[in-house]
């Protein structure tokens, strides 16, 4: 948001009409550690997807494959690594 809207430009009632626009707000810079996946070990069980608090595990639902992480939003909590049954995800420090 480069310029904040004036009162005349706002939707009445304090309503937000752009559903899901929080996606444009990046929380990735909260991270001190980033998850990395070793796809050779991954069995595409989708546990990481299911338990990610931030919906930041990228999957191809049609192919049924785990595709990595949305680093724009991943906060680096490490839940994905903790739940991975094959230890395919490791947390590495952000540089």
């Amino acid at each position: 948001m480069s310029r904040l809207k004036t009162w005349k430009e706002l939707t009445p009632g304090g309503i937000i009409c752009e559903a899901g626009n929080a996606r444009t707000y990046k929380t990735g810079d909260w991270r001190t550690e980033r998850p990395q996946v070793d796809k050779a070990k991954c069995i595409n069980c989708f546990f990481c997807w299911a338990y990610c608090p931030d919906g930041s595990v990228r999957v191809d639902a049609d192919k049924g494959t785990m595709e990595g992480f949305d680093y724009d939003h991943c906060k680096g909590c490490g839940i994905c690594a903790s739940v991975c049954p094959k230890q395919a995800i490791t947390m590495v420090p952000e540089r």
């Binding site: 904040l4 809207k5 004036t6 009162w7 005349k8 706002l10 939707t11 009445p12 009632g13 304090g14 309503i15 937000i16 009409c17 559903a19």
Partner: protein
């Protein structure tokens, strides 16, 4: 249960008049909780529901807080919503009053004016609605059961007008109006239906193609702007209230403005009154006029938004004004009507002298003689040329 298709004149109390208006308006949702003296209205509406005379989803909530909360949820879902309450019920709704207004939801609420506890008292004064005067609701006061009925119907049009989209409170004095049977002219069912028109949804939660977020966290970067736009909204609705009042007049023969002036045109002294006491004040004015006094009445129908310009126009030419306040501003400089009127007249030069009377708290009767006393006092004040005592009491044992 008789269905009234045509215009009819009936003996109704204020609660019944409101209930009939609600029946004819046929809102999508009514959520209400019983409280004396409003119960009678809700009971009657429940009968209309039970007899299938309305298509309303009647939500018999477990508290007034939930009543208004449910109304907010319902109104945000794109349909017509009404409720009714009184006194402690309005007080319990307090938190939600502000939210309904800030979400710009056109809810119509009938409030039977009743004293606030403590001690507990079920009779009329205006402390409930006056306490809610800054919540962002439009407030229309009624003098009698006919006005209750008429105001309810107009309130729907005002609230839902695209230039307004704000909640409206229609008030009537507890027992004095709510339980006193008077002759009331009802419009035909179809006439009311046509007058209020179909509901126009705006930002509905049930519009799945356009999902909206109501009630987000609003911090220092936007909250102020949202409040500013809300100020604009309520200030802009005065002309709409007048327009609707005229249009309703064309339909019914009963025209409404923001104020009603009674024998004020050539008056030197006036009382300013809201609600049922206006009838008593008219009688006092007539009696004094018979004795040659140049007195009149300014009745405030619309207290929120405060019709400042119209009030200045009406009162500026006078020598003296006595305001009658039926609610107390503890520790304040006079009642809410007094402080607002006095402030409005500050820039007028020369300006009338103004005094305030607290009266009628907890249902204490007010008599024609009391109002004559108020006129006598303001006449004295003007004779002396300055106000010795700004605030006094009518009908109190000293």
């Amino acid at each position: 249960m008789k269905v009234m298709q045509e215009r009819v004149s009936m003996g109704l109390n204020g609660n019944a008049a409101a209930a009939h208006a609600m029946r004819q308006i046929n809102p999508h949702v009514v959520a209400a909780y019983p409280i004396t003296p409003q119960t009678d209205c809700v009971e009657r509406f429940a009968e209309f529901v039970s007899e299938g005379l309305v298509d309303t989803e009647f939500v018999t909530v477990e508290s007034e807080h939930s009543a208004l909360s449910a109304c907010i949820g319902a109104a945000a879902s794109g349909g017509r919503v009404m409720t009714a309450t009184s006194s402690q019920g309005l007080a319990l709704m307090w938190e939600m009053l502000y939210i309904a207004a800030s979400m710009r939801l056109p809810i119509v609420m009938m409030v039977v004016n009743r004293a606030l506890s403590g001690n507990i008292n079920i009779h009329c004064d205006h402390s409930d609605t006056m306490g809610a005067r800054d919540a962002g609701w439009i407030q229309l006061f009624s003098e009698n059961a006919q006005e209750v009925y008429d105001n309810m119907i107009q309130a729907v049009r005002i609230a839902e007008d695209m230039r307004v989209r704000l909640p409206v409170m229609v008030t009537q004095d507890g027992f004095i109006i709510s339980h006193a049977v008077e002759r009331v002219e009802l419009l035909g069912d179809e006439e009311v239906k046509t007058f209020v028109g179909p509901y126009k949804a705006l930002y509905s939660l049930l519009d799945l193609q356009h999902p909206v977020t109501y009630g987000p966290l609003d911090l220092f970067d936007y909250y102020f702007e949202h409040k500013r736009s809300q100020i604009e909204a309520i200030d802009n609705c005065l002309p709409v209230i007048e327009e609707v009042g005229k249009e309703f007049g064309k339909l019914s023969g009963r025209f409404y403005g923001l104020l009603e002036e009674y024998r004020l045109a050539d008056a030197e002294y006036a009382v300013v009154v809201l609600g049922s006491t206006c009838g008593t004040a008219k009688e006092a004015v007539d009696r004094l006029r018979d004795r040659g006094k140049k007195v009149g009445l300014l009745k405030i129908r619309c207290f929120r938004p405060f019709p400042k310009e119209q009030i200045i126009r009406a009162l500026a030419p006078l020598k003296g004004v006595a305001v009658l306040d039926r609610s107390v501003t503890f520790g304040g400089f006079g009642g809410p009507v007094f402080t607002e009127i006095r402030s409005a007249l500050y820039d007028v030069s020369p300006r009338p002298l103004i005094i305030d009377f607290y009266y009628g708290l907890g249902g204490r009767d007010i008599y024609v003689e009391d109002i004559e006393k108020a006129f006598a006092r303001i006449e004295d004040v003007v004779r002396v040329g300055w106000v010795d005592k700004h605030i006094d009491y009518l009908g109190l044992r000293e």
